[in-house]
């Protein structure tokens, strides 16, 4: 495995104008990588993520995003993502185009992307207004039963970024606990960057573990506590207190800008 820093990996793999999916469903959110993207002042990104969470609030607030593809944009258990809201409600720091789905739709779009299929089929969005505002929700008729089903196009991001607990020295990656859509997003993307808590000689076996072979990823970088204030199962807990504090930090434009300057750079 190539020795490479997070800064080098982001510089090489994430370009202005790219579609970028940083995934991790509450658990293992790639926060360190998101901060590196902010420090490198990437612009015009199409940000893709089921639950934008604090990291996309930060990327949007710092002006990195042109468009957001998502399914649930809140601060879990706390309330709003204020930078996300400010962008949509007031166009600050600049207008944000949105493409919004349900979780089931997003998950299936990644599955189609990983499978090399043009679209996914699901029994979803029934009777909702989502199809009226999201052109990437259509219907298809089952050729066998005649049932009308929802169809959503595959997601194939330019770059996928995920965080995992361990990688071995050959670049095989292991994560466990809540594993979300990380396998799917990595296999759906054109390029993949993985940050890990630890690089080990031998990956430890764990209940429910997912292993991505090294051939599936372009770069593996050690980033200790790289998911904080999200968590890495077996390493550190989710900092629920910080998620609550984020509400006040992010509510005001200047407080947010000061916090970002002091903590991210």
């Amino acid at each position: 495995m190539r020795e490479i820093s997070l800064a080098e990996a982001v510089a090489e793999l994430v370009r202005d104008g790219d579609s970028v999916a940083l995934e991790g469903f509450t658990h293992l959110i790639p926060v360190a990588a998101a901060h590196e993207i902010i420090r490198q002042r990437r612009r015009d990104l199409t940000l893709i993520r089921m639950t934008p969470d604090l990291i996309y609030d930060q990327l949007i607030g710092m002006g990195c995003a042109r468009k957001l593809v998502f399914s649930w944009g809140g601060n879990p258990g706390v309330g709003s993502l204020h930078r996300f809201r400010d962008a949509i409600e007031h166009g600050y720091p600049h207008p944000l185009e949105i493409e919004e789905h349900s979780h089931a739709g997003m998950a299936n779009r990644y599955v189609a992307g990983a499978s090399g299929l043009p679209f996914a089929v699901l029994r979803g969005y029934l009777g909702t207004d989502l199809a009226k505002v999201t052109p990437t929700i259509r219907t298809v008729t089952c050729p066998f039963t005649g049932e009308e089903l929802a169809a959503v196009p595959a997601l194939n991001p330019d770059v996928a970024i995920v965080h995992a607990q361990q990688a071995d020295r050959r670049g095989n990656v292991a994560f466990w606990g809540i594993t979300g859509v990380q396998k799917e997003v990595v296999l759906a993307a054109k390029r993949a960057l993985v940050t890990v808590e630890e690089i080990v000689d031998e990956i430890e076996p764990h209940h429910g573990q997912v292993v991505l072979p090294s051939i599936a990823v372009d770069a593996v970088v050690k980033a200790e506590r790289g998911a904080y204030p999200s968590y890495a199962h077996g390493y550190y807990d989710r900092d629920n207190a910080f998620y609550r504090e984020w509400d006040a930090i992010s509510r005001d434009r200047d407080t947010f800008a000061t916090w970002m300057r002091e903590h991210v750079g």
Partner: protein
């Protein structure tokens, strides 16, 4: 112990969950009610969170749908595509337990925007798992605070449409659909009047011929709920 209106609502919602069912749980009030049910009258119900935790048994209420304790205590951990496709879409879920920002007279839910979609007054988080939970669960329990901002004549946006049987628990009472699907006030909580419930509803709320009064929370229900919150 004197119960708050939120506690009465949560206890009433918990009582709707029958023992032994497979329940898909939303975060916040639904999660509090489902865990209260599991800790009291429904010890054999299986709780699913959309993060992929099946059979989660948290001892304290999680802040998010993916807190570590949900994974630690789950019978099985599966991916997000698997939870939505193999479990929810395939029809294995008995009960969906949902909250919302707005509800209409048929129990349709809005969690997307208040105001115009293109230029919203308030941008809400969005759909998450709700549209497919509402449509695929065999029945749906909804829990939300009762006021005219939430109980509206017309939703700004239809995020989720409930297909099957449903019940709505509020901090004022209990609403169930009649044969046309319209929600009817069937019970009020202790010290709440029918007039209060009507005044807190943004449409002309229909009222059952006989309106029951909710049994107040028991000492046990209250102490278990408070312990879940305090842990």
């Amino acid at each position: 112990m004197t119960a708050t209106t939120d506690e009465i609502m949560t206890v009433a919602a918990a009582r709707e969950l029958r023992d032994g069912v497979l329940c898909f749980v939303g975060i916040g009030l639904p999660s509090a009610a489902a865990n209260l049910a599991r800790a009291t009258h429904a010890p054999n119900c299986t709780l699913i969170y959309e993060s992929g935790t099946i059979g989660a048994k948290p001892t304290r209420l999680p802040l998010s749908i993916g807190d570590g304790e949900l994974a630690d205590t789950a019978d099985a951990l599966v991916s997000v595509p698997e939870i939505f496709n193999y479990w929810l879409q395939a029809g294995r879920v008995d009960v969906g337990f949902l909250g919302a920002a707005q509800i209409d007279r048929f129990g349709n839910l809005n969690t997307t925007v208040v105001g115009d979609y293109a230029d919203p007054k308030v941008r809400l988080p969005g759909a998450g798992g709700a549209p497919e939970i509402a449509a695929s669960a065999k029945e749906v329990i909804m829990v939300l605070r009762h006021n005219t901002r939430a109980f509206v004549e017309r939703l700004s946006f239809v995020t989720s449409v409930v297909k099957g049987p449903r019940v709505v628990l509020t901090d004022l009472g209990v609403l169930r659909p009649d044969e046309t699907g319209e929600l009817v006030l069937v019970a009020v909580h202790p010290n709440v009047t029918v007039e209060q419930a009507k005044a807190a509803t943004g449409w002309d709320l229909r009222v059952a011929a006989e309106v029951a009064v909710t049994e107040p929370p028991t000492e046990k229900e209250l102490s278990v709920l408070r312990a879940l919150h305090a842990a």
